[in-house]
Amino acid sequence: MTALSALFARDARVAIRIGGGAMMGVLFFLAVVTLVPFAIGPDLALLRRIGPAILWLGALLSSLLALDRLFANDHEDGSLDLILMARPPLELIVITKALAHWVTTGLPLVVAAPILGLFLNLDPAALSATVLTLLVGTPALTFIGVIGAALATALRRGGLLLPVLVLPLTIPVLIFGVAATNAAAVGPMPFETPFTILCALTLMSGVIGPFAAAATLRYGME
């Protein structure tokens, strides 16, 4: 446990100290969300209707922003060799790194969402539903993203490979995240149905993602 908590603390500290992780994601989120009203024009009713979708899209893109460095940084400075040799199972190490990444980049997005939601003329019910669905849904984005991060590192390709690989896999999360938010904001569907599916998606990706990423690293880094 000490080994994993040390890894969590190191990753979180590096992300916060460089400022690349936490602040960059939030600023990118802000930029995306601010652009939308300019593109659509001052139609408040329309903004309110598509607001949750905009917030979800912004959060999705922002959470992928720093993800390709998750293993690549450790690969470049040789840490990954020592991590692969380490005693804790690689799957747990991947989960630890994913959690550290989510806490430093996903969680700030959830915190920033209600403020950005005001730009989009969202009412309090829609705001709270967006925050709740993002809180539950963004870990799924990270856990799906670690597969892409591991592949990008194993193939020694950075940049756009990760979004190209990962974005299609995040479609279900996006669908049910936005559906749950809309259900809470405008109805007529019950909120629980899409929300529980979103929870299930997060739990499933939390299992599949680390195993797939660990297998990728194990066989890809040779």
């Binding site: 000490t2 100290r17 040799m85």
Partner: protein, 225 residues
Amino acid sequence: MKLSGLDLTCIRGGRRVFSELSFSVAAGTALLLTGPNGAGKSSLLRMIAGLIRPAKGSLMLEGGDPELSVGEQSHYVGHQDPLKPALTVTENLVFWVRFLNGKAGVSAAASIEQGLDAVGLADLARLPAGYLSAGQRRRLSLARLLAVPRPIWLLDEPTTALDAASRDRLRRVMLDHLSGGGLIVAATHGPLGLVEAGQLRLGGSSMDGEEPARPEDVDAVDAVP
């Protein structure tokens, strides 16, 4: 404790790096891997560390912890220094000690101080590692060998970027490790100053890439278990 490899074959990217290579190192002795660039020195070290699977052959460790793999009982020092520039010298070392040891506490704090002292970085303990020179970075990576006790040291060109004084210090540290019953496998181009070290010459040419490299002279270390 005795580490031995039998008929090891390494294939990288479709190219045979070395084949049917055997060696053995006993506790208290060192094995130096020499040979031209591309002969497979680093590949052999990574194979022992468990980072590359041998295409053929097997690695054995007698007298080690049966529950742990060879890599889990080894220190591996590669070409890069696994340091985060944003963290201070102490934070970097504390991370590796806690991560490799799996335990924290008073003993860890003492071993960190001891490790930094031994590599002469105690004065820079609070400096971010990004400001260190290449030689200082290397010394900081080597500090984890002292802070976390492990019987097998796998060193890939450990003297890179080190000045004469640091090389001498490394030599003494390695001799201490050997006299304490540890064993060392090191890839090197220059002398490390270890007397009575066995030598394994990896031959072969890296230029044409056609000829499979063969071990020419397996000078086994006095193999008393």
